[in-house]
Amino acid sequence: KEDILVSAYGLSLKFDRQTGHLVQIGNESVEQQLLFYPAMAGNNSRFEFRASGAYIFRPNGTDALPLEQPATKLTTIFGPVITEIRQHINTNTMQIFRLHRDESFIELDWILGPIPIEDGIGKEYISRFTAPEIRNNGTFFTDSNGREMLQRQLNHRLTYKVNVTEPTAGNFYPVNSFAYVEDKSTRSRMTVLNDRAQGVSSLLPGSLEFMIHRRLLHDDAFGVGEALNETAYGVGLAARGSHWLGVENSRSVARFLAQRMAHSPILTFSPTTLSAEEFR
């Protein structure tokens, strides 16, 4: 009846018993959830009928919706090298929370797709991390130019007065390696590293949401002339990726981890007939 607590190598994660969602890391309240924005459909005849497409992220409404099916079960795997908590949502959607020995971050391996479109609605999936105790006042940081961290402020631009008419899409920014939110008074910080270029925003207090996968059924009339509906193997595209999550206050750790993530070792394999000693 109680929430599920998993501890290994000095880190602990707590999952909600009802929903299976991550709700706590150590003593910090940190939630994570997969959600989706239903895509705007339209014929592009006027601005208000502009469809969400390859170029344009245009959700129909401002709220991200929960997946139709919540997590059905959690599987735990313990061991001397890694400990995993697998969150099963349906046959083709799952998340694996992974703790590594001698590492301070939490790896979140996500597997998603094909995105269902039987209801005739395109969908744009996000992974949202929320640390409610971090009061960031709508400010978040991204490394959008791949070099320095840039401060982003909801509904605000640094060099001109902006009238944001798309409250969700108008606050998404590109991120190449990591983004963070910070509470200036307590100096507490939540950092999320991404393994590929994505879009990110902080629409709720203390949150970071990354767009991880999308499947759309309409062209947005910006030139490509077809919907972003990839049908590899006769079905929609499946995707797998990972985020590294850290709730440490250290300023330098994120850049160090980002280098490790972007330049992870190159692996090669060779069949051999030599014994270990002979090879040595």
């Binding site: 599920i4 018993r17 009802q18 390859a54 170029y55 919540p70 997590a71 059905t72 079960k73 959690l74 599987t75 735990t76 795997i77 313990f78 061991g79 001397p80 090298v81 890694i82 995993e84 697998r86 099963h88 046959t91 083709n92 959607t93 799952m94 694996i96 590594h100 020995r101 001698d102 590492e103 597997i111 094909p114 910006f222 030139g223 490509v224 002339g225 990839e230 590899a232 193997y233 499946a238 797998r240 280098q259 490790r260 330049h263 992870s264 070792p265 190159i266 692996l267 090669t268 394999f269 060779s270 069949p271 051999t272 007939t273 030599l274 014994s275 270990a276 000693e277 090879f279 040595r280």
Partner: protein, 184 residues
């Protein structure tokens, strides 16, 4: 080298903004992928040669195979061979450690490092959603996981992996998943 030129050319073409952002037409995108794949495959020989040179194998050579499908836990070499060598190249200019995941069929394995020491390893079943990924063509049902510690900067380190005869590898732990059903 022709193969290097071909790879450079494929990479240069894929720097078009439509290739970077995914806003090309699907058949154009498919073409970008084919070109990159041809470039990578063409360079595998160069890769193998340079690795063998750096590993100083004293005349003997190993055919270094690069598994492009590791992201979906698929690798023909590790699934079909024992023993095999795993070599890691650390592209960072500082020492670094890395958790290695190798798709394998069921069994037990012993991993030996460059100093002849057995390395602690763990066998975990591949997640169901990965096994069901469209297009996955693999017999691997498990992943062999170990920690490659202290990789030298801009350097290589090799590990010998084999299925031990008789007793299973002493330092390999087979993780048993435990399932918790949620009330929903």
């Amino acid at each position: 080298s022709n193969v290097l030129n071909q790879f450079q050319r494929s990479q240069a073409i894929a720097q078009h903004h439509d290739a970077v952002t995914g806003t090309a037409k699907q058949h154009v995108n498919n073409d970008y992928i084919v070109r990159l794949d041809q470039g990578i495959r063409g360079c595998s020989g160069v890769f193998s040669e340079s690795f063998n040179h750096l590993l100083s194998l004293n005349g003997s050579t190993l055919n270094q195979e690069y598994c492009a499908m590791l992201n979906i836990s698929q690798c023909q070499t590790t699934e079909q061979n024992s023993p095999f060598i795993v070599t890691l190249y650390n592209p960072l200019a500082f020492r670094s450690s890395h958790t290695v995941r190798i798709p394998v069929t069921d069994g037990s394995y012993a991993i030996t490092d460059h100093e002849g020491r057995l390395v602690a390893s763990q066998m975990v079943p591949i997640a169901e959603a990965v096994l069901l990924l469209p297009g996955r063509n693999s017999n691997a049902t498990n992943e062999l996981i170990f920690r490659a510690e202290d990789l030298p900067p801009l350097g290589l380190r090799s590990y010998h992996v084999k299925t031990p005869e008789g007793k299973p590898g002493k330092r390999m732990l087979r993780s048993r998943p435990k399932t918790i059903q949620l009330p929903n």
